[in-house]
Each structure stands twice: as C-alpha cells, then as structure tokens.
C-alpha cells in the first residue's frame, strides 16, 4: 500500500466543497426570492415603494379573512396530516409484515402520484358532487399524498434488522406490543420526516381543490385556505398582504419544524 501523500486540503473542507453547487443554486433560485418577498412585505405598494415596516403585517393579522384562511390551513395541517400519517403507517405495517404476495398492492397506493391534476379533480367532483363540508378536501389530500408516505415508511421498515424481531418474539411479546415498542420508535426519524413532507404537500394540493370547486376564487367558507387568500391578493395586485401572509406561513412552518426536531431528539435512542 503506497503511503498516501498528505493532501493539502483537509477532509472537512472537501466535504464542504460538495455543498457548494447546491448552495449556489439555492441562493439564486430560492434565497434571493425569499428576501425579495421579505422586502415586498415591508413596503407599502409595489409601485410607490416607500417603507412602512410592519404595517402590512398588522393589516394582515387584523384582516378577518386572513384569520379564516389561517384557521382553515392550520386545521388542514392539524387534522389531515396526522390522519394521513396514521393511515399510511397502518397500511405500510400491514404491507411490510403481512403476506409476502400482498406487497404488489403497494403499487395501488402510489397511483395517485401519477394521475394528472385535471383528471383527479374531475374524479373527485363526480364522487363528492354535493357534499357540503370539508371532508372531500381532506380525503383528496390524503389520497394524493399517501403514496409518498407509504414508500418512505416501507423503505424504513426494510432497514430494521430481523434479529430484533426474533428476540422480541422469544420473550412472548404480542404483535401489537412489538409494533408499539420496537418498530415505531425505530422508524421515528422517518415518521417525523414524512410529517414534514406531508405539510409541504398540504400547500401543493391547492391546484386540485381549486379545480374541484370548479375554478372559483371563493370556495365555501370551510375550505378557504391561505393559498386562496394569497391567490386572490395576487390577482388584486395587493402583493404586500400576500408577502406578509407568506412570511407568516414560513414562521408557522418554522415552528412546526422545530417541534418536529425536538420530538425526534427526545425519541431517538
């Protein structure tokens, strides 16, 4: 083995260099726009451009329709996301530890990823024609995103070592306790992660709900979410309240991420 010559650049710096392309791309296409949004939220008008600092935020907070939209979005995240995680967890448990030949069923759950937005909205409109509550929107959200969560979770299950199960079975643990005690804590990082992914896709599901309600900018009260609020303000050239509400959403997201990480630190052994 020839002795490796001492490379001038320390290993740690080399790893940093790997980060550079992504960092450059992120700054150009994500960070600068984000700060542009911050700047827009601090000026009074897209055309007159004089600073009013927090007026926009105050105005947005007091706007009753922003509160309504914020409430609806929060409800969507607090109800639909857990429901999604639970259902995808149970399905992936059944898939991974059930019959071997049932594995092929997993393809069915990935299909919603594949269906185009227009057809999905059309099918939802035919199934839930005159349902007068928010359920269809939640179901649409779950239906659309269950595929990703199942893939993540089943992939996580594959990493668990079989020997762990043999040991548990030996001391007579029943199926349910095995899952509660061992499998779930083991895949807790993936669980947290799918929660984050689902929250991201809760913003992406806007296009389908928009078409489901027939392309109107003002859906029934219960499904008037933040995206509708922002979209309408965009059409009304009121970019300032849109920017302010955008900053609020990123704060909301920031809080959720922090909670997620804290939970994860407490659970990982």
């Amino acid at each position: 083995m020839k002795p490796t010559k001492k490379s001038r650049i320390p290993w740690n710096i080399k790893c940093l260099f790997c980060l550079v392309p992504s960092l450059v791309g992120i700054t150009i296409f994500f960070v600068i726009p984000y700060f542009r949004v911050l700047y827009y939220s601090l000026i009074d008008n897209q055309f007159r451009r004089n600073f009013v600092w927090l007026d926009n935020y105050v105005k947005t907070i007091q706007n009753e329709y922003f509160q309504l939209a914020f409430k609806n979005s929060l409800l969507l995240i607090l109800i639909a996301v857990p429901a999604l995680i639970l259902s995808s967890l149970s399905i992936s448990l059944m898939l991974s530890f059930g019959l071997k030949k049932l594995r092929v069923l997993r393809t069915a759950f990935v299909l919603p990823l594949v269906i185009p937005t227009a057809s999905a909205a059309l099918i939802w409109a035919t199934f839930f024609a005159n349902v007068d509550n928010v359920l269809p929107v939640y179901l649409l959200f779950i239906w659309k995103n269950i595929g990703i969560c199942i893939i993540l979770m089943t992939a996580a299950f594959t990493c668990i070592d079989d020997s762990v199960f043999e040991a548990a079975k030996l001391d007579g643990a029943k199926r349910f306790t095995i899952h509660r005690k061992i499998t779930i804590p083991l895949i807790m990082p993936t669980l947290i992660f799918s929660i984050l992914i689902s929250i991201v896709s809760s913003f992406k599901v806007f296009k389908e709900t928009y078409l489901y309600y027939g392309g109107t900018n003002y859906p029934p009260q219960y499904s008037y979410t933040l995206q509708y609020y922002m979209n309408n303000n965009f059409l009304k050239l009121d970019y300032q309240s849109l920017a302010a509400s955008a900053v609020f959403t990123s704060l909301l997201v920031f809080v959720i991420v922090i909670i997620g990480l804290l939970l994860q630190r407490r659970y990982t052994w």
Partner: protein
C-alpha cells in the same frame, strides 16, 4: 444495466430537441409580420392634397414623372382622360375614340366597351392603355395616345392574355402583367394565390410581343432609376424579387403573400411598398433581409388596385377623388406593444405609430404589472374585468395629467366617464376610448299598431306588464327579452352601486323579485334560449338571434341592443363615407342585423333599457367602459405618451363618437343618433368597475333552480362578496 439506462436517456434528449425544432415553419402570413420599427411617416396636413372629383365608379389613374395626374373617366362608350397639375388645375384633356375590334374589315365598337379597360400608364406625355375584348376576353389590345400629336395608335393585339393588371413603359418597350390562358389551368393550389399570371413585353415600334417572365409572377414595379422589379411566388411558399435582366435577388422566403385578392406594390427608393390590408402599407427592403418596416396610417380604406408612388408622393383613390400625401423621412422609433384583455384587439387608429397587440389573461396581467415588466407599453382593459379598479387603487399606471389634449378630452367626455378616469388624488389614470351599455330598440309604428305606449316604460315592472298584455292578447308569439341572468346582472350592480358592501335585505328582495316574476328553466342560465310553453312568457328562439320580441309576422317590436360600442361607430363612419347614407344602410351595418325582421326600419327608436329598481330615487344604468392605461415601466414611454396625445386629440374631434358630451358633435338630425346620445347622457349612468356579478352567478342559479334555499344563497353571497371586497 447502467449503460442501457444512460443510452436510453441520451436517446430521449436528442429526440426531444429534434422533435421540438422540426415542426415545419408554417409560412407566415404578411399580416402578422414582426414589425421592427416605423421608418416613414405621413406628414402633417399641409402636404395632404385632395383632387376632388364627382364620380360614381372607381377610376383608373396614372402619374407621370413631374407628378401630373392622368385619370380616366369610364363613361359610356369612350374614354376621356384629364390631366391635372400639382395643385389640381386642369392642364390637358384627351378624348380617346371608341374602342372596338376590326373584324373582317369592319370596325365594331364594343357597346359597353369602357368597362373593359384594365389599366393606364403614362410616360413623357404618351398615354398607354390596354383593354380586353369585353365578350371573348381572350385577347388584349394595347393602345397609345400621344398628347402632343393627339393621335391614337393601336400597338398590338395579344391572344390568350387578359386581365392586365399593370403596364410599365420602359426604354422602348411596354411590359404588361396579366393572366396567361395556357398557364392558368393546372397550378398547385394550396401554396399561394397564383392565378396563372405572366409578363409580356411589347415593342412600341413594331408591336411584336414575347413572354418575358412566367415563373409565377404576381406583381411588378419600376424603380426611380428605371429598373423593372418583378415579385414572384417562391416554390415552397413566400415570394422573392427579381430584377428583369439580372440575377435573382435573394428570396425572402419567410414572407407569404397576404390573401388579399388584388396584390399590388410600388417602388419607393430602394424599398418597395406592399399594400396589404386596409390600414397597413408595408415597406420591405428588396434585397430581402428580413428587417421589415411598416407604415401605419389613417387611410380609411385604400383601393387595393389603385395606388401609385411617384416623386415622393403617395397617390391613392378615396370615395371623393384622389388623395396625395407627401412621404416624409421622419422616423418613429418605437413599435408599441399593447396588451388587450378581451379576445379582439381594440379598433383604434394608429396615427403612423407601429402598434402590435397581444392578448393576456388576468394572471399574466397581474404578473406583468407586479413585476414592473416592460414588455407591454399599454394595457387595453374594459371596466368589467376584475383588474380594472385595482390598477387605479394600487397606482399601477402612469399619470396622464400633463399629456397634451388628454385633459381637454376628459373635459369633453360625459361627466360620469370623466369622474371614472380621475382617481382620488387627481391623477388621470386612464384614457377612455368607448362606452357600451344596453338599450331597448322598439319600432314606433308597430308598437302603435298594438297600442303599446313606450313613454311610460322605464322600470322592469312596466316591461313585464307590457309583455303580459301582449301575451294576453296573444299578439306576440315569441320573445325572450326577460331573461333571469340579465335582470340579475342589472339589479346586482344597482344594489352594489347604492351600498358598496353586501346588503342582505336588498339582495333578498331582488332574489325574490326575480324568482317570482322571471321564469327560469333549469340549465338555461347563460343566454341560450329555452323552448317550452309551460311558463307564462313563452320563450321561443327567434331564428339566429337573442333578446328580441317579434310579432306573429316576425316583425320586431322590442329588441335589446348594445348602444355606443365600436360597432355603432364603425358602421356609422362607413355610412358617412359614402354620402348616400340613409337609415337602411346604417341598420344593415349594425352587426348581423337580418333585414327581413326590420320591415319599416325608419321607425326604429332607442330608449334606455328599463332598470330593476331606483337607487336614491333615480333609475340607475350600468355602463362598461373600454380604456387604455400606460405602463409606467415601458421602455419607450415618450413615444407612448405621444401616441396617447394623438389618440386623445383624434377622439376629441371625432364626429358621433358616442363618448363626447357636446351635442353639436352629433348629427342630431338622425333620430337613432339622438336616441343613443340620450341614453349615454342619462344622469343615472355609472361606470361599473371590477366587482363582477360572475362572483355569485352559480349560487343564484342554484337558488333559482331550487337546489339551495334563499338563506343558504344569501349566506354564500355574503361570504363571497365581503371576502372579495375586504380580503
């Protein structure tokens, strides 16, 4: 495995790049040139001269080198040519003896021979003209008339050649462009408009003729320095230019000739002017580089066959004679790009500016405004689009206060239009172009026959009452003037005008009123008619029309008709142009008006369409306004403001503009103009902005169809309207 995947991916990439660029370049029609910039503009009025002539038929004219005008009166049986000098005084006159054909030694004049003359040309005081035999049309005779010696000579007779479209006398020969019989049979159809033309040259002394060019020519012209330029269709579409006795000039193959019937072009310096659609003269450099330039001018409608360019002047035939305009070298730098919101671009004059139009939707419009884009210079918006009022509130405009003529123009328009054009802090944020509202057209005589007194018809109750009486005396078999959507729309604006937030009782009252009085059949919301006789007002489709009330014999009693929009202005201008204007010409032009239904149209009158309820005592009428706003971030702002002031000045002294307030600018002797003016001058008019009844259409329809209760409808409407207003 990896190699396989990588090869497949590479195949994808090459294929998609390939497939996207090989869809064949459809040949671009001349109309949608990519206009680069405007080089030549018509001058101000002093160099604009009109040779007045009373004439009832188009004339043929030619210009000689020192600008004298030779024109030919196509009288019954012989040709009289008069020569006019530069300021229109008569210099010379010639009577050409009757044209006929010598058959077996006997001269047989053509009875209505004069019509058969195709075109005339003049060179150093000798006139050349051709005529095709009026019956056989298979041969063309070429004549010359010398103004000095006053003698007429038949130079030649060419078999199998007619429809001569151009004569060019050039160094001892005459070049004729016409249809050649043997060529006009089998031609490849779908490519272009070639009809079998060819170019024949006739020697002046000897008269023998030979074909000079027959490879699909469509026009020819002569440059100032005496060179013959031919333009011909290229094989794969488009066309190219060719000097007569020299090599091909580079073909510019991306230009396809327009579909105009009579192609024509003249030479001006090193460029040629191709006359295309009525409004455009296009300057195209002959050497074929694709940099094209357009001169856009306010020629009302140039006769395509008949225009000539000589010694820096453009001559063209108009209704009242031949007009001569000086072509000046003044350069207009920028071509302005106007984004328009409705499907059709606005019909406005361009005053020598290059104008291109592009249609955009609300999302693109907000994106363009918010991102301070400069790719649009002006926006043409109508007031019922959701964005119109937001532009005013958010300041997304360039104030036009100090643009010349704009202030003057706003003082001259109707007060409610002026009020709409100026925002709270005094900025003029838009330039109004034309208005549109709804009027009720009724036929005085027929209404008298059925003793309907229109005077007391000003609310919807009266209208419904009249229709009920008509129904009871089953005079009228079918009408469809009371449509729920229309009544809903009018009352929606009247309510929102009074209190600009959701007022539950007004909406409840309106909903109940329409529910009881107006009949609604499921799924018939957007203006299509229903054919059922279960309801009291039988609504039967009148063939090919909406909103009409006709009696049993199909004669019109009442008809809902737009007032004041550009159709009216357009048809009015055209009517005026031909002086023989009278009512029926006007009516025939007012959109697709089917004459059978307007028997004695002279008795048609307009009144304001009855409104649903009074607001503060006056009956209110919503008017939509078409206007232009200027993009403050446009790169060629100064040219845009120049255009806006030209447009304002043009609108300012427009006759029968249906937007100006001053009565003297309207020909009040014509009763429909007077009626239309009264409607547009009604004090209850207001411009409705942004808030569109579309917001709660679908809920109202569900309520009418009993799918949801009244309260449910009111709750939904409340949420939607208040959300829209207070978001």
């Amino acid at each position: 495995m990896k190699k396989l995947i990588s090869t497949v991916i590479i195949v994808f990439l090459t294929l998609s790049l390939l497939s996207s660029c090989n869809n064949d370049k459809g040949n671009k029609d001349i109309i949608n040139y990519d206009f680069h910039d405007v080089k030549i503009n018509f001058t101000a009025d002093d160099d604009d001269f009109l040779y007045e002539m009373e004439k009832d038929r188009p004339i043929l004219f030619a210009i000689d080198n020192n600008g004298y005008l030779y024109y030919n009166e196509l009288t019954q049986n012989f040709m009289k040519v008069t020569v006019l000098g530069l300021d229109g005084e008569k210099i010379d006159e010639a009577e050409i003896e009757p044209i006929g054909v010598w058959e077996s030694g006997e001269f047989i004049p053509y009875p209505n021979g004069a019509e058969s003359f195709n075109c005339i040309a003049v060179k150093d005081n000798v006139l050349y003209f051709t005529d095709s035999h009026p019956f056989t049309r298979d041969s063309t005779a070429v004549f010359s008339y010398n103004f000095n010696t006053k003698e007429q000579v038949k130079i030649a007779e060419i078999e199998g050649f007619n429809d001569v479209r151009k004569i060019i006398p050039l160094d001892g020969k005459l070049y004729l462009l016409g249809i050649d019989e043997r060529l006009s049979q089998n031609i490849n159809p779908a490519k272009n408009n070639y009809k079998g033309e060819s170019i024949i040259s006739v020697a002046l002394q000897t008269g023998e003729h030979e074909t000079v060019f027959d490879n699909m020519p469509f026009m020819m012209a002569e440059t100032e320095d005496g060179v013959l330029i031919i333009s011909a269709y290229a094989e794969n579409g488009g066309y190219y230019f060719k000097k007569l006795n020299s090599e091909n000039i580079i073909p510019n193959d991306n230009l396809n000739f327009s579909n105009s019937e009579e192609p024509n072009f003249e030479m001006y310096g090193s460029e040629n002017i191709i006359h295309d659609s009525d409004k455009f003269l296009v300057f195209l450099p002959v050497d074929g580089n694709s940099e094209t330039r357009v001169i856009v001018n306010n020629l009302p409608s140039i006769n395509r066959k008949n225009f000539a360019v000589k010694s820096g002047y453009l001559f063209y035939e108009t209704g009242s004679g031949v007009r001569r305009i000086k072509l000046s070298e003044e350069v207009n730098p920028a071509v302005l790009n106007m984004a328009h919101y409705s499907v059709l671009p606005p019909i406005i004059e361009n005053f020598g500016f290059g104008l291109t139009f592009e249609q955009i939707d609300t999302y693109e419009l907000s994106l363009s405004l918010l991102s301070l884009d400069s790719n649009y210079d002006m926006y043409n918006i109508n007031s019922f689009s959701d964005i119109s009022d937001n532009i005013r509130q958010k300041g997304a405009f360039y104030p036009l206060n100090d643009v010349p003529y704009v202030n003057e123009y706003l003082n001259a328009v109707f007060p409610y239009v002026r009020e709409a054009a100026i925002n709270e802090d005094g900025d003029i944020w838009m330039l109004p172009i034309y208005l549109h509202t709804n009027g009720l057209l009724y036929n005085e005589k027929i209404c008298e026959e059925y003793d309907i007194d229109i005077a007391q018809l000003n609310t919807s109750e009266d209208l419904i009452e009249i229709l009920a009486t008509l129904k009871s005396r089953d005079i009228t078999e079918y009408y469809d003037i009371t449509h729920p959507q229309f009544f809903f729309e009018r009352s929606f604006y009247q309510i929102m005008r009074k209190n600009n937030e959701f007022n539950r009782d007004d909406f409840r009252e309106m909903a109940l009123y329409i529910y009881d009085n107006i009949n609604y059949i499921k799924d018939d919301w957007s203006y299509n008619r229903i054919t059922s006789d279960t309801n009291p007002y039988p609504l039967i489709q009148v063939p090919g029309s909406v909103n009409r009330v006709a009696d049993l014999r199909g004669r019109y009693l009442l008809y809902r008709r737009g007032v004041g929009d550009y159709h009216m202005q357009e048809s009015f201008n055209r009517a005026l142009e031909y002086e023989d204007y009278d009512d029926d010409y006007f009516w025939a032009n007012l959109g697709k008006v089917d004459f059978r239904y307007f028997e004695n149209y002279k008795h048609n009158r307009f009144i304001l369409y009855p409104s649903v309820k009074a607001v503060e005592g006056i009956h209110v009428n919503d008017v939509t306004l078409e206007f232009i706003t200027v993009n403050p971030h446009s790169e060629n702002l100064d040219v845009v403001l120049e255009y806006i002031s030209a447009l304002a000045e043009y609108q300012l002294n427009l006759e029968n503009s249906f937007i100006l307030h001053d009565e003297k600018t309207y020909s009040m002797d014509r009763h429909f103009v007077k009626d239309a003016y009264e409607i547009l001058n009604y004090e209850g008019n207001f411009i409705r902005f942004s808030l569109d009844s579309e917001l709660i259409y679908s809920d109202f329809e569900k309520f009418l169809g009993d799918e949801i209760t009244l309260d449910e409808y009111l709750n939904r409407a409340e949420f939607k309207i208040n959300a829209y207003l207070r978001e």
